[in-house]
């Protein structure tokens, strides 16, 4: 097997083992309800994490995701409350806005050669600040179209339900997998993560790709915000605090190298599900502090970072061994 696939294999293995452990303790964990819930409850996180995967594979980071989700919710509610636009039109405007927002950050990162960390940090303040300005209250969305969207689900055997947003997340992942692994753009993203200078020498349009990556992340954060607003049927400027961290964690647990250049969109899905699984387990148990979630995720992060580190140094050692056979 290609050693680069090892992190992905480990992720899948951990997921399966964890699920088996959960099942052994709580047989209900393997019901379609729980599986449907895993998809529905983590839909917004999953969609945002797809964008984050691209950003991280390219060697960057996007801290603005959670704030953009909050902004999206507030923007939609305010637009639906104060104008007579159809939700679909609002969605279109909003996705245009968040895509532009992401593109602008990408532009600043590329043109001003500033670290993505700081640029997207400012973006994080800005997006949440704009959300506050639009409305500080949690405003409910009562549009009939919203209710219709929420009522769409496919009942699985065993009363589990695959909701619209859960399905949408799977679609986004499918789209992400194709985009990452089956398009020239995807190859360029990996190329940037492998080394900007080399990528430039090999003819990758660095500026265009950088802007597109952050625009994509902005777009998916907006989509994630729409999903979040469907999930809670409200817009709230304090919502989705820290989602960017969850997304980063999911991406790393999914086997993507935080230093860029290597990763799997599919792995991110498993990463999201692992995190959802931990939460579900803790709720099922009912006596553990919910904060164990954070500690377990921290530990998983450590495990994965060490694993990747180990793989890298292993590859290095192999190479230097080869070199020592020299002359």
């Amino acid at each position: 097997m290609n050693p680069r696939l090892l992190p992905l294999a480990v992720t899948v293995l951990i997921f399966v083992v964890a699920y088996a452990v959960c099942y052994a303790q709580f047989p209900a964990m393997l019901s379609t309800r729980v599986i449907g819930n895993l998809l529905t409850d983590n839909a917004f996180l999953g969609i945002a994490a797809v964008g984050m995967t691209f950003v991280i594979i390219s060697g960057g980071i996007d801290l603005s995701v959670g704030s953009v989700i909050a902004f999206t919710g507030v923007f939609i509610t305010v637009m639906l409350r104060d104008t007579s636009l159809h939700p679909l039109a609002v969605f279109a405007i909003l996705l245009g806005l968040t895509t532009l927002f992401g593109a602008a950050m990408g532009m600043i990162i590329h043109v001003l050669r500033m670290p993505p960390f700081i640029v997207t940090l400012a973006g994080m303040f800005l997006a949440r600040g704009l959300a506050y300005i639009l409305s500080v209250d949690s405003v409910p969305i009562t549009h009939p179209f919203y209710e219709w969207l929420q009522s769409l689900y496919w009942l699985l055997p065993g009363k589990g339900r695959l909701t619209l947003i859960g399905g949408l997340m799977l679609l986004v992942f499918a789209f992400g997998i194709l985009l990452a692994h089956r398009t020239r753009f995807g190859a360029n993203v990996f190329a940037l993560g492998g080394g900007v200078q080399t990528a430039r020498l090999m003819g990758v349009p660095v500026a265009r790709t950088t802007v597109a990556i952050y625009a994509l992340s902005g777009f998916l954060a907006g989509l994630s915000g729409i999903v979040f607003s469907l999930y809670t049927s409200a817009g709230y400027s304090l919502a989705a605090v820290g989602v960017e961290l969850d997304a980063i964690a999911a991406v790393v647990i999914g086997g993507t190298l935080l230093t860029g250049g290597s990763g799997f969109v599919a792995g991110t899905l498993i990463g999201v599900l692992i995190m959802g699984l931990i939460q579900t387990y803790i709720i099922f148990d009912g006596t553990l502090s919910s904060w164990w979630t954070k500690i377990v995720i921290g530990a998983l992060l450590l495990v994965f970072i060490m694993l990747q580190k180990g793989l890298l140094s292993l590859a290095d050692r192999r190479r230097s061994l080869r070199a020592s056979g020299n002359t």
Binding site: I61, I108, V111, L112, R113, M114, P115, F117, I118, V119, L121, A122, G123, M124, F125, L126, R128, G129, L130, Y132, I133, V136, S237, L245, I248, A249, V252, L258, T259, S289, W291, W292, T293, K294, I295, I297, G298, A299, L301, L302, I305, M306, K309
Partner: protein, 333 residues
């Protein structure tokens, strides 16, 4: 000596000017801003509030500056604040003496720093990744320490760390100013500052010149942990309770911002603790200014974002490069 002073003045001039502009703007919107009186045996007024409320970020900025100077970053400081505050409150409630409580919680901060430092310096993990682990897990640990409650206490000695007075000033002000002076003296009166900068600029060359880069990097993360512990103690003492949920939430970002606003490059190298501290005060002045001016607090973040963006754009390497090119072409026609 004069040359050094002048250079130092030039170094912190942008930060001082920014601070002055922010303060002047608050003064315009809220004329009573500059009133300072003595009440209850201490100075009292909005400027003092800025100094007081800015204490946690100022303390964090001290450690963060040193970490960033080595080319690293410490995302875990907010979580470390929560951990140390939780430990301190729990210990004092359990009847430990004040010195023991302080020593143990500061020790916990050092330990957190040691963990980060080892990951970065010995295992060679990227700083942003290494400290992310403790950032995610740390708050959970703090919650476990407090068992999910706000641990309140009524130990006056400890509480005075947060709300007492010393030398006509709130204790936190005295603490961060002293910590700032002490840190500045330690890095500038010893060779520490120079060695840290050398490691941050060129780690390999520094090591070949005999600098113990590994030890130095572990040390700065430990200092950062210690500063975070102090900040956590102050926050805990201030409200007489450990709030594992909210203590230090997102303060790591403010601290990084303070350092960047203070003009230290995120890539490492030359640093100025004083400029970072002024940066921390700029951020707090914006926060306090919005409060006393009666603005709705929702503008806080947007104003902050705009100021930060402006400062960052002015400091960006691309623009500086352009400016240098411009001045060079002007210098040699």
């Amino acid at each position: 000596m004069n040359g050094t002073l002048a250079r130092f003045g030039r170094r912190i001039a942008p930060q001082l000017v920014t601070l002055a502009v922010v303060v002047a703007m608050i003064g315009i919107v809220f004329p009573g801003f500059f009133d300072i009186s003595i009440a209850n045996g201490r100075l009292y007024g909005s400027p003092i509030d800025i100094l007081n409320r800015g204490a946690p970020v100022a303390l964090l900025a001290i450690g963060m500056t040193l970490v960033i100077a080595t080319g690293g970053i410490d995302l875990s400081v907010g979580a470390v604040m929560a951990i140390c505050g939780a430990i301190a409150a729990t210990l004092i409630v359990d009847g430990y003496s004040l010195p023991a409580t302080l020593a143990l919680s500061l020790g916990a901060g050092l330990l957190c720093g040691l963990w980060n430092g080892l990951l970065v310096a010995v295992l060679g993990i990227q700083p942003i990744v290494a400290t992310l682990i403790l950032m995610v897990a740390g708050r959970g640990i703090a919650q476990l320490v407090t068992e999910g409650m706000i641990r309140t206490f009524s130990h006056h000695g400890f509480a005075s760390l947060g709300s007492g007075n010393l030398l006509w000033l709130p204790t936190p002000v005295v603490i961060w100013v002293c910590a700032g002076i002490l840190a500045t003296l330690v890095v500038r009166r010893t060779a520490l500052g120079m060695l840290i900068e050398a490691v941050g600029i060129n780690r390999r060359a520094s090591m070949l010149a005999g600098v113990n880069a590994r030890l130095l990097i572990v040390t700065v993360y430990m200092v950062s942990g210690l500063c975070a512990a102090m900040a956590g103690l102050i926050v805990t003492a201030d409200i007489r309770g450990a709030d594992a949920n909210n203590a230090g939430l997102f303060l790591e970002l403010d601290a990084i911002l303070a350092v960047v606003v203070g003009g230290t490059s995120l890539l490492g190298g030359h640093f100025s603790l004083i400029a970072s501290l002024i940066g921390a005060m700029i951020i707090q002045a914006i926060n306090t200014g919005i409060l006393v001016a009666g603005f709705p607090p929702e503008f806080n973040l947007v104003i902050k974002a705009c100021i930060v963006l402006a400062i960052l754009v002015l400091q960006s390497p691309a623009l500086q490069g352009a400016a240098m090119l411009f001045s060079r072409t002007k210098g040699q026609p």
